[in-house]
Symmetry: C2
Subunit: 134 residues, 2 copies
DNA sequence: ATTAATTAGGACTATTTTAGTCGGATTTAA
DNA sequence: TTAAATCCGACTAAAATAGTCCTAATTAAT
């Protein structure tokens, strides 16, 4: 529980690495995957998610790759997680939405408190806070 | 990702419910499981974990059950999670401990930052904060 | 034009984690 | 003695995550 996934890890590796370059420079999936020993296909798909979300820009063809096109300080970690993992699991109610016991359910508020705590925290942490060098 | 597990949920349901009673009163697994439609066996095991950790006290035999024996404001949520889930997954490094790339690993610090953020937060939230009524 | 390097993306399998079940043992109030 | 409760290990099922495979589209370099 409360564990970040590999896809998030891989994305953070990639972005950290891209942040170290000139912001116009391109970084290919191959480059990142070999240097960090990350499965090429998974990283490729993860980068595609970031491209669709306009976090990075893709340049196709030989010598192509990705470059950052946003300021990482402007992206909240909640947003980042959602780009990679889809709608945040921790905000879902664990019971089905047609749950019959909504009245007597003793857990709803406690779970909401936990979820709210996590979400509030990551709403106040930017991608920059996580990937910056120092 | 970042989702709390059923076992944690069930434990919170149980504890919330116990907190509503006189603190000497006993609550059985059957009572909690039927009232909240929780699988009996799973809840039973979860309560056993809480008993081993001296969060609750078990009274065996007919009319037995569990009662809270600690002040929920004295238990940090990190501790609570560890009682139920074992050592916190989010503090583990995702790479094997014999990872050869520890020098070049670009992600170690970012992951630590996320883990530290989560841990710090839950070190500062008590069980009472989560299960209290108001 | 052709080739090779790159991104794009769907379908699939494997692995790990989580959830749940089963069978029995121990304790103890009635 | 019985029945209701906790205790506990071994097992199965389901879901989530991780990883693989294959093919298409784009484009710089030759």
């Amino acid at each position: 529980m409360l564990k970040i996934t590999r896809k998030v890890e891989y994305a953070l590796i990639a972005l950290s690495q891209m942040q170290m370059k000139r912001h116009t420079a391109l970084t290919s999936v191959k480059e990142i995957s070999t240097q960090n020993d990350i499965p090429y296909e998974i990283l490729a798909k993860t980068m595609q998610l970031l491209a669709r979300a306009d976090i990075v820009e893709a340049v196709k063809g030989p010598r192509g790759g990705y470059r950052l096109i946003i300021d990482p300080s402007q992206i909240k970690m909640t947003t980042f997680f959602e780009i990679i993992e889809g709608p945040m699991g921790f905000m879902d109610c664990s019971f089905d939405s047609d749950c019959e016991q909504i009245q007597s359910c003793a857990i709803r508020t406690p779970i909401q408190r936990i979820n709210d705590s996590i979400r509030d925290m990551f709403n106040n942490i930017s991608l920059q806070d996580i990937t910056r060098l120092s």
